[in-house]
């Protein structure tokens, strides 16, 4: 295992052990700004970890970023790791980021579905449907690809077929990985932005997913998504769709950003990171850093807007 983050290869994919080892080293090396919080345990009793970036103070407003809820989307974990390192290396140099961190805390959950991620390394990467061991779910990808809908609420657009993309799950927050996030964010009570990172459809979306009806802050979220996507485009010329989930992708209830928005987190976005158009989940490792670089500019745009528009 790596003993220092300086020898860690950010342009490679890594196993869960390697990532957790990197987290320990990273926190040790940057203890003035980063700490590690365990917010729960997975179904198979793995630790669910969150990195907290903070310059001190109590009850700072906060920004949440999660990667890897769909565990075979390795590009998201890799992007999260690069991003965490970017925050530390740019703090004090990048004025915008420095201002953000002086006023706000940033939380990053790098491996939202550790069981599924471990499964993709120990068993198989490519196939998607595989029931969680000991689970009543025979088709849905609980231990592997997906935690289904974030909150898993039945409703308009969600589906009772466990083999469907929009399966709503047996009950709200039925998965411990989901409950850990919900409990943490709810207990914190001062999150102002939430960004859930997925791949690979090149989209940046905001609420609602459950309804075609625009949210009350639709204009602001639209403009912010547009700015973020433009900032992303300037890095490597990758074009993203943007808009509400229901108008951009599909109508489906019970997803992350709807829950966040309804919980009072106005700046709630769901990212679908880049795809070359050929590889899907097998995005070559050579594209990790370009993907992370462009994503960072979009994240930075959203975080800066959050800082400048307190509510």
């Amino acid at each position: 295992l790596e003993r220092s983050t300086s020898s860690f290869s950010y342009s490679s994919y890594h196993t869960l052990e390697e990532i957790y080892s990197w987290i320990d080293n990273f926190v040790t090396e940057h203890s003035d700004i980063v700490s590690k919080i365990q917010i729960g345990n997975s179904f198979e009793n793995r630790s669910i970890l969150v990195l907290k970036f903070s310059t001190g103070g109590s009850r700072h407003p906060a920004i949440w970023i999660d990667t890897g809820i769909h565990s075979r989307e390795w590009i998201t974990h890799a992007t999260g790791i690069w991003t965490a390192n970017k925050i530390v290396s740019d703090y004090g140099k990048d004025r915008v980021l420095t201002d953000i961190l002086k006023a706000m805390d940033i939380f990053i959950e790098l491996v939202t579905n550790p069981d599924g991620f471990a499964f993709t390394h120990s068993m198989v990467r490519a196939p998607g449907k595989d029931g969680r061991r000991g689970s009543r779910h025979l088709c849905r990808t609980w231990g592997f690809d997906s935690l289904g809908g974030f909150i898993l609420l039945p409703g308009n657009g969600s589906n009772s077929n466990p083999c469907s993309e929009t399966y709503h799950g047996p009950s709200p927050q039925s998965e411990p990985e989901v409950a850990a996030i919900v409990n943490f964010i709810t207990a914190h009570g001062n999150f102002k932005a939430l960004i859930s990172i997925h791949s690979y459809s090149q989209m940046l979306m905001y609420p609602y997913g459950r309804s075609l009806e625009p949210v009350s802050n639709q204009r602001e979220l639209y403009d912010l998504a547009k700015d973020a996507v433009e900032a992303l485009y300037k890095v490597h010329g990758i074009e993203y769709f943007f808009g509400s989930i229901s108008t951009t992708l599909y109508v489906a209830s019970g997803i992350t950003v709807d829950w966040a928005y309804d919980s009072g987190i106005k700046y709630a976005f769901s990212f679908e990171l880049r795809d070359t158009g050929r590889y899907g989940f097998l995005l070559p490792a050579t594209q990790i850093i370009p993907t992370a670089q462009e994503t960072w500019m979009a994240l930075r745009t959203i975080m800066e807007h959050t800082l400048n528009h307190p509510y």
């Binding site: 290869s9 342009s11 490679s12 994919y13 890594h14 390697e18 068993m123 198989v124 990467r125 490519a126 196939p127 998607g128 449907k129 595989d130 088709c139 077929n161 083999c163 469907s164 993309e165 690979y200 459809s201 992708l249 599909y250 158009g277 050929r278 590889y279 899907g280 989940f281 097998l282 070559p284 490792a285």
Partner: protein, 93 residues
């Protein structure tokens, strides 16, 4: 570890809602038959699905019989998985 030699990922472009619903019908099949990497959402968006080698003939025939246009996005998944594994091992060394 399983072997995916010959498994392909097909990219399908549905022209309309009717064709999309034909793709959604595939979701109801046994999960081993089709694994949607990008599910049928709306006609303007491509649908990507992994098809095991053993099911390729059946699935391609299904698509062709319903006039669904597709292309082969990944010809052999195992080749890419081997490359990925090798890259990770090299990085670890």
């Amino acid at each position: 570890q399983m072997n995916f030699t010959g498994d392909q990922v097909l990219r399908v472009l549905a022209k309309d809602e009717k064709q999309l619903s034909l793709l959604r019908d595939l979701e109801g099949l046994k999960p081993q038959k089709v694994d949607f990497w990008r599910g049928p959402a709306r006609p303007s968006l491509p649908v990507d699905m992994r098809v095991p080698f053993s099911e390729l003939k059946y699935i391609k025939a299904y698509l062709e019989s319903h006039g669904l246009a597709y292309s082969i996005m990944i010809k052999d998944i195992q080749v890419l998985l081997d490359e990925e594994r090798e890259a990770m091992a090299k990085s670890r060394r």
